[in-house]
Symmetry: none
Amino acid sequence: MERTARREQVLACARSVFSRRGYHATTVSDIIEEAGVARGTFYLYFKSKRSIFDELLDEYLRAILAQVRRVDLGPAAEPPVRQVLGNVERILAVLLESTEMSRILFHEAVGLDADFDRKLAEFYGEIVKLAQGSLRLGQQMGLVRDCDVRVAALCIVGAVKEVVDAASAGPGALPDQRALSREIMRFLDGVFVPAALAGLEDQP
Amino acid sequence: MERTARREQVLACARSVFSRRGYHATTVSDIIEEAGVARGTFYLYFKSKRSIFDELLDEYLRAILAQVRRVDLGPAAEPPVRQVLGNVERILAVLLESTEMSRILFHEAVGLDADFDRKLAEFYGEIVKLAQGSLRLGQQMGLVRDCDVRVAALCIVGAVKEVVDAASAGPGALPDQRALSREIMRFLDGVFVPAALAGLEDQP
Amino acid sequence: MERTARREQVLACARSVFSRRGYHATTVSDIIEEAGVARGTFYLYFKSKRSIFDELLDEYLRAILAQVRRVDLGPAAEPPVRQVLGNVERILAVLLESTEMSRILFHEAVGLDADFDRKLAEFYGEIVKLAQGSLRLGQQMGLVRDCDVRVAALCIVGAVKEVVDAASAGPGALPDQRALSREIMRFLDGVFVPAALAGLEDQP
Amino acid sequence: MERTARREQVLACARSVFSRRGYHATTVSDIIEEAGVARGTFYLYFKSKRSIFDELLDEYLRAILAQVRRVDLGPAAEPPVRQVLGNVERILAVLLESTEMSRILFHEAVGLDADFDRKLAEFYGEIVKLAQGSLRLGQQMGLVRDCDVRVAALCIVGAVKEVVDAASAGPGALPDQRALSREIMRFLDGVFVPAALAGLEDQP
DNA sequence: TATGAATGAGTCTTCATTCAT
DNA sequence: CATGAATGAAGACTCATTCAT
C-alpha cells in the first residue's frame, strides 16, 4: 500500500474511534486494531496520539472556516442577508455532513488541554469576529438593528453549535439540513430590521 | 476539623483544580496538595476522583435547573415575556457567579465518558424541553411567531451557553450580567411577535 | 464496660470476622464495626491487627495441645490404645466445637508469613513428635507394628486435619463427633497389630 | 525473545517467588525483578497478579489429577491394591518433584479468597470422590473392610498431604519417594482386610 | 516499510496505625 | 478510657512510545 493511502486509512480509523470513544478513552491500540496495522506502523506515520488528533481537527477547522465568505457589497452581489444565510447554510452543510468530526469537535476536543483550548478559542474567535464584522456592516447599512454585536455574534455561533450538535446526536427529531438553516435564519431575525428580511422567504 | 468543614474544603479545592487543569489533567495529588491534606484523607470523604467530580457537577446542575420557573398565565402574573426573561436572568446569574463551575460544565464535563455524556444530555434535554414548552405556549397565546419550537429552543440554549462561556473565559470584552441578559433577550426577539415585546424595555 | 470484658468482646468479633473473611481480607474496620467500638479503642487493647490474630491463634493452639495426654503405662492405667483414642477424641472435640477457630487454623493461618509458618510448624512438630513417641512406645510394647514412626505420625495428624476440615466446612455428610473419632481410630488400625485392638469396639 | 519463551520465563520466576514469599507478600515488582523484565512486560503476558497465580495453580492441579487412574477390574489388570498404590505413587511423584508448587498448593493457595477456596474445595472434592469410589469398590470385592468410605477417603488424602508437606519443607528426616509411598500404603493397611495385602510386599 | 515485544513513568486506591481532643 | 479524623507508605495496573529485527 502506498504511503498516502495507508496514512489516509489510519486517519479514517482514528476519526471513527475518536468519535465513538472520545479522545481519552481511545488508546493507540484501538486505532491500530481498527486499522489492522502494527503498533510501529502507527508511529511511522504519526508522531503521537495527540498529533493525529490534531491533524484530524485542524483539517476540519480549516474546512469549516473555508465556508465563510465575506459579505460582498458590490452592485452585482446578492442581497447581504442572502449572503449571510449562505454562510450559515454552507457551514451547516459541512457540519452535518461529517457527524463523526462534529462529534469530535463539540465533545472530544473540548477541555482536552490548555493547548487545545487555545486552538479552539482561536477558531471560534475567528468565526465570532467574522460574524461580528458582518453584523457591524449590517448596522451601517441599516439592515441590522442596534445591539451589542459581540454578544449577538456569540449568540449566533452558539445557536448553530447547539443545533448541529443535536442534529448529529439524534437524527430523529430535527428537520433536514435545508429547513434547519431556514429555522436558524428565522431565529436570527431578531437582529435584522424587518425590512432587511423582505423577500427572503420566497427564494428557493 | 469537623467532618463537614473538611469535606467542603476539599470539595472547594477540587473545584478550583478541575476548573484550571481539567478533569483528566487533574490528579488526586493535585487536589490534596491544594487542600493540604494527606492522600488518605481524600478517600475518607470521597470514593474516587470520579465521584468527587460527579458530586461537584450534580450539585451545579441542580442549582441551575432550580432557577427555571414555569411560565405562569394567571391573571395576577407578570407578562409572560417578562417571566421568560426572568428565567434567563436567573440562570445567567448562577452561571456567571461561579465561573469555575461554568468552566467545568462547558469544558471539562464534555466528552468525559459515556456516563457523563448521558447525564449532560439529560440535563440539557430537560432545559430544552422547558424552553420548548414555553415557546409552544407563547405560540398559542399569539406571542411567539410560527417556527419549529425544537430548533428555536436549541438556539436559545446554545446562545446562552456560548455567551456565558465567553463571559467566564474573558471577563474583559463583555457587558455586565444585567446588560448581558438584556442583549440575549433582544436576540430572542426573533421568536416573539413585535407586540409581545411592547413595554419590556422600560422595565427596571 | 470493664477492661477484660471489652477486650474479650473485641476478640470474639475478630474471631468471627477472621473466620468468615480470612486474615488478609479482614480489615481493622471490619473488626471495629462488628464490635461497635472506635478505631482508637482497638489499638488500646491490641498492638496491631497481626497481634490480635496471634493471640487468637496462640490461645487455640494451647487449648488443642492441652488435650494431649502422655500415654500412661502404669498398672492402673487404661489400655494404651484406649488412651490414644482418648487423645484423638479430645482433640477432635475441641476442633469440632469451635469451627470458627478451626477454619482459621486450617485456612487463614496457613501461608500468612514466615513468622506464622514457623509458629505453625512448631505446633504441628510438637503434635507429630508426641504421636511419634506414642507410636515408638507402642512398638516397644508390641502393640504397633514395624513402620517408620515419623511417617505414620504425619499420616495420623494429616488424617485428623482433613477430617476436621471437612467436618467444619460441610456439616452435612459426615457422622457425628463420636462416630468420627471411631472411624479415624479404625483407620489407624493400620499401625496397630491386630491383638492391640481386641476389645476396643465394645467399650462405651 | 519470542512470546512463548518470555511467558514461560516470567511464569517460572513467579512460581519461585510465590513459593518463597507467599501470594500476599509477593509483589509484582518482586516477580519482574526476578525475571529481569519491565513492569509493562508482565502485563503484556498476564492480566493480573492474581491471574498468573491462577494459571500456575490450575496447571498444577490438572497435572495432579491426571495421575489418578480408575481402578481396572479386568482379568488382565494388576491386582486392585497394586493399582491404588500406583495412584498414590504417581501423585506423590508429581508432588515431590515440584516442591515449589507443592508449597504453593499447601500453603499459599489456602485461604486466599472465596474464589480460590471454592476452586481448591472442588479439586480436593474430586480427589476424595475418586478415593471414595475405589474404597467402595474394594468393599464390594471384599478387599476393604467395613467403614465409612467418606471418612476413610478424607483420611487418606489428609495423610498424603501432610507427608508431602513435611517432605517438601524439610528434605532431611524423611525417607525417599519410593519408601514414602510404601509407608503411606502400609498406613492404609487399616482399610484393607489382611488378605488383600498378601503378596504386595515382595513386589518391586 | 513493517512489525510487535519491551519499556517505565505515572495514577489511582487501600488500609494499618497514630494522636489530638 | 474512648473517639474518629488524619496520615502516608505501599502496591496494582495502564498505556504512549521506542527500537531491534
